[in-house]
């Protein structure tokens, strides 16, 4: 009993879902990134030793910190939009405006965080 999708990979990639599609993809990447990071982080704390040290060195790297903070902050802000709109379905007509508000909150916060991460890494 498998689903039958009559969509080729090429047309799937050509699909233009615009703003909502972008937030959907980034929400997924953010969620996956955090799931992998948190799992590895808990296992590293549990196991300790050389594996724990190696993983902690990865987490201290400023590139990784920028990536994981992007995942956490975007997932949190986009998740708040999804939660508010889904629990109050009448607001669904304002979906696109809500996405603009979301970027207006995300970009300055993330920019400050990237500035702090890079200036901390630079000493």
């Amino acid at each position: 009993m498998s689903l039958n999708r009559n969509v080729s990979l090429a047309s799937g990639l050509r699909y233009r879902g615009q703003g909502p599609m972008l937030t959907f993809i980034l929400h997924r990447i953010g969620g996956l990134g955090m799931a992998v990071f948190v799992t590895m982080h808990i296992l590293a704390s549990f196991l300790g030793g050389d594996i724990g040290k190696f993983l902690n060195d990865v987490y201290r790297n400023w590139l990784f910190q920028i990536f994981i903070f992007f995942c956490a902050l975007f997932h949190a802000i986009n998740g708040l939009r999804i939660t508010i709109i889904d629990l109050l379905p009448k607001l669904l007509v304002h979906q696109r405006e809500a996405i603009w508000v979301e970027w207006a909150i995300f970009i300055p916060l993330f920019a400050i965080a990237v500035f702090v991460i890079i200036s901390t890494a630079g000493g």
Binding site: S2, R28, L32, I42, S45, Q65, L80, V116
Partner: protein, 144 residues
């Protein structure tokens, strides 16, 4: 059409199946996690984070209020950061995050695995992962 008819069924007519329950749980656990993170950040500020911590340390503590996360910070009163209250807050955050996250992985897997057998395997794997990560996480939180 002049009159707008509601296009959604009420919950009592639709019934609450597992997928519907998890849909609701994902949203409510998100609200719960925002509240717990806010409590952790406010708690850090009350306990003196303004003078003793930088932004990165506050965020590390905020996303998981575990005393191990402030080990490298020179704190005036380190004991206040490892009380049962903070361990319970961290445990609640852990359990919500693991359930929310593992269900999220199942949702993603369901988009790419479309056989009934494959989906059954993913469900059993997710249950095993949820239980084991919750137990390992609780062990780390309560023994650190």
């Amino acid at each position: 059409m002049a009159t707008t008819k509601p296009r959604t069924l009420s919950l009592s007519k639709r019934g609450l199946n597992f997928e519907m329950f998890m849909w609701l749980f994902t949203r409510l656990s998100a609200l719960g996690m925002y509240a717990l993170i806010l409590v952790a950040i406010i708690g850090a500020l009350v306990m003196g984070a303004r003078e003793q911590m930088n932004l990165a340390d506050v965020l590390r503590w905020g996303f998981m209020p575990n005393s191990g996360h402030v080990q490298s910070v020179p704190l005036d009163n380190a004991d206040a950061w490892a009380t049962p209250f903070w361990r319970l807050t961290a445990s609640a955050l852990l359990l919500l995050a693991v359930a929310h996250g593992v269900h999220g992985l199942v949702v993603i897997a369901d988009d790419y695995i479309d056989t009934a057998r494959g989906r059954l395997i993913v469900r059993w794997l997710s249950i095993a992962m949820m239980i084991s990560m919750s137990l390992i996480g609780l062990y780390v939180l309560w023994t650190s």
